[in-house]
């Protein structure tokens, strides 16, 4: 009997990439349950399958085998438009390379998912400006991505991910292209959104700074879950690490 409500569950999840004669098993029978409202970091070295898992959970690619349930709905059963609805309204995406639409201003980037969701222009603008303020870019709404620093672009991406009040924010190496300080700011921002908006955060990363804010850390290697650490275990470890440093 579980006390948790799971927002994401994967069952026997496998993804095999075939390139010519070679096959890469990027995910190998992954079973992972993610609780509503938690902050989960998916840690692992480069090539361990983090992005592949991100794509599967986000409905951006289809598994070779196994199932992803979002709120107990099997994602493979969704029609194309239901899947688009899910991406638009229920999941926010954050990428290592920010992926803002280059020809659009910060505000236009943030309002685009709201336009897709059917909000009127005025409502979308108001909400978009509010979100940009929340991420500390209230005065930069009219700037194009090229006129913003990496950290600022990632803040716009965070605002955009939150545009339709998603239940889940999925991030793939959100600090991968940022320096130490800016990376920390983004992590803090994500944690703040997690606490204030109760949004579930699932972040693939190999940035150890992320451990501090995570409720759980899922370590993966070669497409398999190696171990899952709970907050209380992490605290002990972080304490030990700090002790060792001194």
């Amino acid at each position: 009997m579980s006390v948790y409500e799971y927002i994401v569950r994967t069952k026997d999840l496998s993804r095999v990439y075939t390139m010519g004669d070679t096959q890469v098993r990027a995910l190998d029978n992954v079973a992972l349950d993610i609780r509503r409202g938690e902050y989960v970091s998916i840690m692992g070295p480069s090539g361990s399958g983090k992005s592949t898992l991100f794509n599967m959970i986000g409905g951006l690619d289809k598994p070779t085998k196994g199932t992803v349930f979002i709120d107990e709905v099997d994602m493979a059963q969704l029609t194309a438009s239901e899947l688009a609805f899910l991406r638009c309204r229920k999941i926010g995406y954050i990428f290592q390379t920010f992926n803002l639409i280059p020809v659009m201003t910060a505000l236009e980037n943030v309002t685009l998912p709201m336009v897709f969701a059917g909000l009127t222009t005025d409502t979308a603008m108001d909400k978009g400006l509010g979100l940009l303020k929340t991420v500390g870019l209230g005065d930069r709404y009219d700037h194009k991505p090229t006129e913003l620093s990496g950290g600022q672009q990632q803040r716009v991406a965070v605002a955009r991910a939150l545009a339709n009040d998603p239940a889940i924010v999925l991030a793939d190496e959100p600090t991968g292209n940022l320096d130490l300080r800016t990376g920390k700011e983004i992590i803090t921002l994500l944690k703040q959104m997690n606490e204030e908006k109760k949004v579930t955060i699932i972040s693939a990363t190999h940035d150890l700074k992320m451990i501090d804010v995570s409720d759980r850390v899922v370590w993966i290697r070669d497409g398999k879950i190696e171990r899952i650490e709970e907050r209380k275990d992490i605290d002990i470890q972080v304490g030990q690490m700090e002790g060792e440093e001194q």
């Binding site: 794509n55 690619d61 688009a84 638009c88 992926n99 020809v103 059917g118 339709n164």
Partner: protein
Amino acid sequence: MSDSQGAGSVLGEPDRAGIQKQIVLPWSRALQMTRENIFVRLGRSAITASGIFLGIAFLSAVLFGAAAANVKARLDLTQLGLEHEQSELQARIVWLAAMSLLVATVGIVNSMLMSVTERYKEIGTMKCLGALDSFIVRLFILEAGVLGILGSVAGAFVGAGIMMLAYIGRIGRGGVLESWTAPALQLGGTDIRLWLAILLATVVGGMLSIAAALYPAWQAAKMPPAAALRSEF
């Protein structure tokens, strides 16, 4: 309705037919995005439009030449007994027109392919934000249509304009003006007057442009977002 937002269930109400599940792209926003795409990537847009421009300029020059030759023949009163020569000229015109359209088509297919492939990542991102495949296709059709029409209209003016200057010495101002209503082309046994032929050429230019964008845009739109996002452009 209210639980379709926030941390509620994934698909809103359990029944799957609710209107709140609709994803939309209003025409006003689509047009605004088209305008931004064209202006921000002015270089690429100019290249795309110039393919059509050159093709249609050449085509309307050929058409003008044909119409002006008809006028000249009438002015010279030499059209008697020239049926055979006329039909040979007609065949040559059709051939030239077809060639110029072919050249334009190759050019525009090429630049549409490039303008779609260099935007794979953007297409993938839009799909993450909830865009339907049809939104992607619609945006590219709009852009191709606008560029195709602009290129065609400019091409028609320049092509015909140059020929007007070239012919003014030979058939005079009146002859040049008369050419616009002279037959320029025979299609299925009916004479097509110059102005109509050039108008048709312009429309064909716009259609060619859209047709050229359709296939690459549709290909890119139906890619899984993960694949589109991976591309290095």
